[in-house]
């Protein structure tokens, strides 16, 4: 045990296996629709139980591996339900309902991610999930939506499917404001936003190397190069901070809340900035629904609604001056 920020073999193996599954089941270019079958495959893979206690189906990995896995999820625009499930399982366990925790972790019970809009619960998908995890600022609540009357609607220029429920019609299961679970939720959201930022960077770089104008690849022009460099700097900044925060939270360090809040604050800004630049680098085709660039932008808008809001300035910095 010392300081080492390299991924080890075990971590690379699980990430490679996850990537293979994601490339098959979650191509970025896919039409909207019922993702439940795909999400079931992630559950089968053990994605939701990864870092849980052994008696809840955990496989001995830690929050750090789980965060790295969610970066990959972000790259493939995996629906927010994949983020809600592992958080909901933790809440169920905290409420003392280990059976429910196991059922969520193994994918037997599906969970949607939702937010409150006035007196309505808005879930960020059209899944027929039985439960929803409600992100309500610094509070998380697990509710049953199976018997509530949901109304689906499209969002973000027909780029997202949403379902709205009268919140009073849902069945409340229990809530949590545990700092540890809130931090986990913020880390997973940040991880997916990083995945978006990285994928947007890679897509832009790949297009800039291929698309030719004025007799050369547009990536040979400094204006395009500098957009791409900015995307690389932003992604590196967030990625470094996310590692720092995930390790701090896994090891219950004093600065875990500070590091997590920093990552969660930066994540949507970085993801949105990279998504915007990715569209710009693509030029005309970037504005079309056919290209993938806009998908990253829209997923970033969805994810940034989940959690966050920690009072960054009220948390003690690990670098406070001594005098």
């Amino acid at each position: 045990m010392a300081c080492d920020l390299n991924q080890n073999d075990e971590q690379r193996q699980i990430l490679d296996a996850a990537t293979a599954l994601l490339e098959e089941s979650f191509p970025v270019s896919r039409s909207l629709g019922d993702d439940q079958e795909r999400i079931d495959k992630l559950a089968e893979f053990g994605a939701f139980a990864l870092a849980l206690d052994d008696d809840l189906g955990g496989t001995g990995f830690t929050l750090v591996e789980e965060v790295l896995l969610h970066v990959r999820f972000g790259r493939h625009i995996v629906p927010a339900g994949a983020l809600a499930a592992p958080v909901a399982a933790r809440i169920a366990a905290e409420l003392g309902d280990n059976d429910l925790a196991r059922e969520i972790a193994t994918g037997q019970i599906a969970v949607s991610a939702g937010i409150l809009a006035g007196d309505r619960l808005r879930t960020l998908d059209d899944t027929k999930a039985k439960l929803a995890l409600v992100f309500d600022r610094r509070r998380l609540e697990l509710v049953e939506i199976a018997n509530a009357d949901g109304e689906t609607a499209t969002g973000l220029g027909q780029g997202a499917e949403l379902t709205e429920f009268p919140f009073v019609a849902t069945t409340r299961i229990g809530a949590s404001n545990s700092a540890s679970i809130l931090n986990v939720a913020d880390l997973l959201v940040s991880a997916q936003l990083l995945g978006i930022a990285e994928a947007a960077r890679d897509l832009a770089v790949s297009y800039a190397g291929m698309r030719r104008q004025f007799g050369k690849p547009i990536g040979a022009f400094q204006a395009i190069k500098h957009h791409c460099a900015n995307m690389a700097i932003s992604a590196e900044m967030l990625s470094a901070q996310l590692d720092m925060a995930a390790i701090a939270q896994r090891d219950s360090r004093d600065d875990a809340a500070f590091q997590t809040a920093a990552a969660r604050l930066l994540a949507p800004r970085v993801a949105l900035a990279n998504a915007r630049l990715c569209i710009q680098v693509h030029g005309g085709i970037g504005f079309s629904a056919e290209a993938d660039a806009h998908r990253f932008l829209k997923q970033a808008h969805l994810l940034r609604q989940l959690g966050g809001g920690a009072a960054m300035l009220d948390l003690a910095s690990p670098m406070a001056p001594h005098r």
Binding site: M1, A2, C3, D4, L5, N6, Q7, N8, Q11, V64, R201, V205, A208, G209, K216, P217, G219, A220, F221, Q222, I224, K225, H226, C228, A229, N230, A232, I233, E236, M237, L238, A240, Q241, D243, M244, A246, I247, A248, D251, F258, Q259, A261, A262, A263, L265, L266, R269, A311, M312, L313, S317, M319, A320, P321, H322, R323
Partner: protein, 373 residues
């Protein structure tokens, strides 16, 4: 992935903290001239007596050869104790010239210069940039012709920090007539008191003179002052690039973490105000810069150019922090203070050592693999 410091590391942290609390000078460092030299050398001598000079240098050369865990602890404690900025007139000697001599110098050069550097008895400056060779350093044209057992140097350098108070200069000159670009250059030790050297200080936009133009008019330098092989100067100059990133640059980057805490205190922003939001973002970005610094120390880089990412992030974050300081200060920002001074000085961050634009080209071409122009 782990960031676990051993109990011995934690004890080291407390030792460093205690020593710094007892020894950091109460006064701020003077900005320029002989006073800045005296202050910096006295501080370095004090560090050396305490065993804190050249902590990254190998033990064989008077350093402590500390592993990265201890280096980051030292620099964290250093900046949290408000010790003098590492970017003073001892910076080149400790972080560039010294390590270059260690890597490429002969025994005589090392035996003479290294102890003088660590004990705070010599100041070095860097003679690389020229009026016609800034970002494009390899185009430099200051020449050195062999005459007997000496080199005769003619030409001009510019932006040479601390040239007016330096004893020695790491000087990059063209020793092969008609050579192009990186070929035919040599890295030589130049005595700044040699006849034929004229130093003309340049006042910068912050109103102080810590850099200068240096003119060479038939300056004679013994051939024994060539470091590494003759005409192999480019390689010699580049050997320390990696080293540079693993030493005092850490201190500069971490110092912003303290600076942003000062800024938050200075602002007294209302919770929820636009200023509070901006400060929260800066605090998060500064935390992330520290995380990037940890990466440079504890992670194998994907390319040799990865340092450009953190270098550029540091430069732009430093400017952003000082710009906000001026917003907070309002009319008080007009009066010269350390905030105003540092705000003006920060304009050099995206220019010195490779402009932000060149850094972005490097990132795009060497890290992302985009085609060269």
């Amino acid at each position: 992935m782990d960031l676990t410091f051993s109990p011995a590391d934690e004890a080291f942290r407390l030792t460093a903290r205690k020593w710094l609390a007892d020894n950091v000078p109460a006064d701020r460092a003077p900005y320029e001239g002989q006073a800045s030299r005296d202050f910096a050398l006295a501080w370095l001598a004090r560090c050396n007596e305490g065993g804190w000079a050249g902590i990254a240098w190998p033990e064989a050369y008077g350093g402590r050869g500390l592993p990265p865990e201890r280096l980051v602890i030292w620099y964290e404690e250093y900046v949290r104790s408000r010790a003098p900025s590492v970017l003073d007139c001892t910076f080149v000697a400790l972080n560039h010239a010294g390590p270059t001599l260690i890597a490429c110098g002969n025994e005589e050069q090392k035996a003479f210069h290294l102890p003088r550097i660590l004990s705070g008895n010599s100041v070095w400056c860097q003679g690389f940039s020229e009026p016609g060779s800034g970002s494009d350093l390899a185009s430099l044209s200051t020449t050195a012709v062999i005459d007997g057992d000496e080199l005769v140097v003619n030409g001009q350098k510019i932006w040479t920090s601390y040239a007016d108070i330096a004893d020695y200069q790491e000087l990059l000159v063209r020793t092969e007539k008609g050579s192009k670009r990186h070929q035919g250059l040599s890295w030589v030790i130049c005595d700044m008191k040699a006849p034929g050297i004229t130093v003309r200080p340049i006042r910068n936009m912050a109103g102080v003179s810590h850099f200068a133009e240096v003119f060479y008019d038939d300056v004679r330098i013994p051939l024994t002052n060539v470091v590494g092989a003759l005409n192999d100067g480019w390689r010699v100059a580049m050997t320390t690039l990696g080293f540079e990133r693993k030493t005092a640059a850490i201190g500069l980057q971490l110092e912003l973490s303290v600076r942003v805490e000062d800024l938050i205190l200075l602002a007294q922003a209302q919770p929820g105000s636009a200023m509070a939001e901006r400060l929260a973002e800066l605090r998060a970005e500064t935390a992330a810069l520290r995380a990037m610094t940890y990466r440079t120390l504890f992670r194998q880089p994907a390319t040799t150019f990865d340092g450009s990412l953190v270098r550029l992030r540091f430069a732009e974050l430093s400017q952003a922090i000082h710009q906000i300081a001026m917003d907070i200060l309002g009319p008080d920002g007009l009066v010269d203070s350390h905030w105003t001074h540092d705000y003006l000085e920060a304009y050099s961050e995206t220019i010195a050592g490779g402009t932000a634009e060149i850094q972005r080209n490097i990132i795009a071409e060497r890290i992302l693999g985009l085609p060269r122009e």
